[in-house]
Symmetry: C2
Subunit: 250 residues, 2 copies
């Protein structure tokens, strides 16, 4: 069976968390909106009022007869099918909990450039974005990083993974969040990276996994850009106190 992933063709966005899981699993999939007429098919599905179990927004995944939306929900499904999460109830709950916390962080990143309304341009909410990004960099970013560093340090399976002693989709997602933050906030991340060695080591290890490395080097990996969730506006990024900006593994 070949999965069908429905997500915007021009950005990594929330779809990227699903793409990374599919790539690591080696699961065959088609990125529908990047095929001919695919974006129209994606939107037709969103607008189909007769559809039982409709998605509210992309990403969504077709898996045979299942149509699954919400990033964390899709990952839970893929994690179970492809060994990207523990089989035990406690392990599944914990992996999902980490993913939902990462999703909260991703929402806050989006809020740094769109604090007023998603339908407005950045330029129309720039003043508010500066205020919000200043708080994000000063208080929220460090709080989330402290949390994930602490999770890794206290993991009974060792600090190489978030969940036990094996890779899970939460690791892939933490990699993606770090990669995005390095793109969006290179200055703020200089200090943050130094202070959170376990998180940064995980980012590097995931990037070096054979299937992920091959994916990142391929045309399937879209570059970060100014339409996605992780955007770089120099005016929103705190100036580095010292040293060179941190750089991404991808």
């Amino acid at each position: 069976m070949r999965y069908e992933l429905y997500y915007w063709a021009s950005i990594q966005g929330r779809g990227e968390f699903v793409r990374l899981a599919l790539e690591e699993a080696g699961a065959p999939y088609v990125d529908v909106a990047r095929t001919d007429g695919g974006e129209e098919r994606m939107l037709a599905l969103l607008g189909d009022d007769a559809l039982a179990g409709p998605p509210f927004a992309p990403p969504y995944l077709k898996a045979g007869r299942l149509l699954i939306a919400q990033t964390a929900n899709i990952l839970q499904f893929l994690g179970e099918r492809h060994g990207l999460a523990p089989k035990s109830e406690a392990g599944r709950l914990w992996t999902n909990q980490l993913q939902l916390t990462l999703a909260d962080l991703v929402d806050e990143v989006h809020g740094t450039h769109h604090p007023i309304a998603s339908i407005l341009y950045y330029e129309d909410q720039r003043r508010e974005a500066k205020r919000r990004a200043a708080d994000f960099v000063a208080t929220r970013l460090p709080k989330f990083f402290r949390y994930f560093e602490r999770v890794l340090a206290a993991n009974p399976g060792g600090p190489a993974h978030l969940v036990g002693g094996r890779l899970s989709y939460a690791d892939l997602s933490l990699f993606q969040v770090v990669a995005g933050l390095l793109y969006a906030f290179p200055n703020a991340m200089t200090r943050t990276a130094r202070q959170h060695p376990h998180v940064m080591a995980l980012h590097g290890r995931v990037a070096a996994r054979p299937r992920i490395a091959a994916y990142l080097a391929s045309g399937r990996r879209l570059p970060f850009n100014q339409q996605g969730i992780f955007r770089h506006y120099a005016e929103l990024d705190r100036q580095a106190r010292r040293g060179r900006p941190a750089t991404a593994a991808c």
Copy 2:
């Protein structure tokens, strides 16, 4: 076994979604932070660096040896244990998907009064809140309501429930969101309520369920207030075009 719910003692907040599920299930639980010294125990747990599998923030639930955080994650666990979600994979995924979409709406409601930073007072971000709330009322609130109305209308099990022909935790959560919005945005909700009869009927039916009605009438149900997620600031609520403001069933 008696569950232990950890959440702020003075607000409904995100903990209320868990309380409603526990109440509907008739499950014994203690609302820890509302007991003597409970809030200190809640915070001690958050600050325990040696804890494997720590929560990022309340609410969290202790269930025997399990410690589960993130509202949607807790509800998925309770739904499975107490028959508040279908047993099939498709049904479980769909219920979780709906809950995550409701969580997105709840985040957007919070953003209407805190568009800049959670640590700042409302009064310090009032100007931005007015802009954000205007967009929420004009575009986001109707979009979410249209979605849930459409889900109910297209449900093969009938429009009385979100998932199949039986109550699920997603119904309880939709009730709570509607109740909160009626408190926070009574004017904007006048028109919204009229246009979404299935959603409003569900809200009324859930409020009338014996265990929920008993809960809502009890001292265990905290009133909505100006510290929670759903807050009423008249200046953020659009004036009703006509008719009287909508009223809540609780």
